[in-house]
């Protein structure tokens, strides 16, 4: 009796397998002949774009996590409170300028900000730093100057990034409870055992611990960088840039298209000026400027990383406020400057 049941189960599985096989063959025969060649071509593009984004971002993530490790072992909460004022405006302004000390792009700034929050950095300063550091740092200033010269584009990129970062930081300063903004892990003071620093640790021991923290954080944030890069590469592969470019004429649409491109392309802020240079002529000054201001603050991979630090509601504001301010700036420039 039992053998018969087993045989029946096996035959049912076999029938299901054969049916699925036939279905797959029928489905494959219905697909146009060129589809697989097209898909192969797309996959090649996907792989190239993914590697382009990932390889470009990885060194900066490493730099950011290294800075984070060093902050953890060499900076204590007292020092942080001495350096950064508790007053909202002063904290937001000083946070925005911290990028000059920590030259990180948008990939590296997230783990570093997370670490600084852990060290007691005020919310307003942290948000300002998060948004301003990818632009207001020496490397990006030089690369923008190399692409556009020491002129208006550089000046407005820096000024608007600073303004947006400070305004967003100030808005977050009204929230007195960090727990309402940050994910729970950040509001507790626990840390991995190997990263715990003792006061009497030697310098070499501190460095060793900094590297351990760096490695931990690199692999933790690296996952989201990989996921973000995959997503960005997939979108770039299946929504070609040319589609957006053909849509993007006119003072309003051109800014929206460039803001969309900034999210889609996910280019590191250290090199985005050279990419933006290619849009000059096709797009107006305001549109290119909005790309250069918004891109370093928000893109696919950075949003995925933000979600590891902030609550979803906070991430929405971190994305929406810079988006609206970049849009407004782009529009004003489009209407006031040729």
């Amino acid at each position: 009796m039992e053998t018969a049941t087993t045989a029946s189960r096996l035959s049912r599985k076999l029938i299901l397998l054969i049916a699925l096989g036939i279905l797959a063959i029928v489905a494959a025969s219905m697909i146009p002949a060129g589809f697989f060649a097209w898909l192969w071509g797309r996959l090649n593009v996907f792989a190239t774009v993914f590697l382009g984004i990932f390889v470009e971002a990885v060194p900066y993530l490493l730099l950011g996590t290294l800075a984070s490790g060093l902050v953890e072992v060499f900076l204590d909460r007292d020092q942080m409170s001495r350096w950064i004022s508790g007053r909202p405006v002063a904290a937001a302004v000083s946070g925005a300028f911290m990028g000059m000390i920590f030259p990180v792009c948008e990939c590296g700034v997230v783990p570093l900000t997370r670490r600084l929050f852990h060290k007691g950095l005020p919310l307003s300063a942290g948000i300002s730093f998060l948004l301003a550091a990818p632009v207001l740092n020496p490397i990006v200033i030089l690369s923008t100057a190399a692409a556009f010269g020491w002129g208006q584009m550089l000046f407005w990129r820096m000024s608007l990034s600073l303004l947006i970062a400070i305004v967003t930081g100030l808005i977050f300063s009204v929230e007195k409870e960090a727990a309402n903004v940050l994910r729970p892990a950040l509001t507790h003071s626990h840390e991995h055992d190997h990263g715990h620093v003792e006061i009497n640790d030697s310098f070499v021991e501190k460095i060793r611990k900094a590297f351990l923290i760096t490695a931990d954080e690199f692999f933790e944030m690296g996952r989201y960088l990989v996921m973000g890069s995959v997503l960005a590469a997939a979108l770039q592969t299946f929504i070609p840039q040319s589609v957006l470019l053909t849509v993007g004429s006119g003072p309003v649409l051109s800014v929206l298209v460039m803001l969309g491109l900034a999210i889609l392309l996910s280019i590191c802020s250290t090199v985005d000026a050279f990419v933006a240079l290619g849009f000059v002529g096709t797009f107006s000054f305001g549109s290119v400027l909005s790309f250069l201001v918004f891109g370093p603050m928000v893109d696919i991979k950075s949003v995925l990383m933000y979600l590891q630090v902030f609550k979803r509601r906070s991430v929405f504001y971190i994305v929406a406020i810079p988006f609206m301010m970049s849009l407004l700036s782009g529009l004003i420039f489009n209407y006031l400057m040729p």
């Binding site: 002529g281 096709t282 504001y317």
Partner: protein, 453 residues
Amino acid sequence: MKFRWNLDTAAGSILGFLAVLVSLVVLFGAYAGVRVSTNLPGDGVIAPFQTIKLTFSEAVDFEMASSLISVDPVLDGYLEWIDARTVQFVPIRPFELDTVYKMTLNPDVVTAAGRELKKGYVREFTVRDPLVVYLVTDAEQSSLWVMDLKKNPPRRLTDESTKVISFDAARTGEFIIFTAANTQGGVDLWRVSRAGNDASLLLDCGRDRCTTPVISPDTLRIAYSREASGPTPDLPFGSPRIWLLDLQGGRNDPLYEDQQILGYNPAWSPDSNRLASFDGLTDRINMIDLKQKKQYVFESNTGGPIAWSPDSNQMLFTNVEQTENGLRTQVRFVDIALNESQTLLGANDDSDYSYYSLAWSPLEQKALLGFRAGKDEPSQILWLFNPAMLEGIVIANQKDYTYNSPQWDPWGNAILFQQFKLRGVFNPEIGLWQPGFSEPLLLNQGLMPQWLP
């Protein structure tokens, strides 16, 4: 109950405020329409061949926008679209001196979506007086200087530490390319603006000698002679070959792939499409049409100057040939479009006039020719003539003077040239002639004068 700000109310308020601002800007923008700006300087004074650029605030329809642009008084030129937002007026003839021009862009629909240029655009401009750039060489310097024709004191363009060997001024008058020796024994290409004192190295030629630079009239490329250094410093330089340097992209390549083709004294056609040069080894002029990728060869053994007609289809050059009366220098005329050539002057001369200096007016059928006035006269005079009619007038023929290297101004009106007194101390002078002059005017002392429009 006391109202307390929290993140949601603060962020919501600012987002709402920003949304209102965005709506207001869009509404205002829709009302304001498309705007435009130009590259015309604030004082409205431009170079005679300046391209006037119009930049729209957004991408426009080429045909719609082009139909609204005009220049008054009308001048030969064309509109060239650089990208979807930028168009430039490229003059074929120079803007005239002492004329007030008006660039107008009439208000109308300029985009396919129906967006309007609501406010018309009108800008007036005039043309600046040309300057003269020249070389001063003495025991202390070999520098470029510039002067005007109003007797203001000349000013130096390059400092004493840079020893200028040769130079060429751009047709736009905005910059000068010059050559200067480097520490390796080679000669480099340099660039200096018309304002001066900002010389910068353009091409490091290492141990090679890069000489006789000539800027294409569209100012996009430079043709120059390059002599490769020997394998060791004590060995002589190789034969000169023509190279092209792209001023925009930076590409720098030999003009001819064939290493057997030598070249010096390059000469651009006015349309920048053709380039002629001498090959001293084969006694030929090699001319290449860069647009059509076609090469032409003409017999010439003088290495003297090549003069292009304003339409870039005809050339004048010199050649020495054996005639019934003996060796005679001749002026040859070539019509490239018709594929015809003929000896214009010198075929039946009773004595050799040593025709040498040649310059074709940039606008009309008139040219300048330098030749020996008499059989036993060492000096050269300058003759202004019509190449079609072979009629003309002598413009420079002062006793004890010889003249060469004539240069037309952009309007084909005034002529600069080098003049030397045959007796006494060697003292190169710069002469000027223009219609109405009975004899040349001495401008200053100096070498290789050129117009800086």
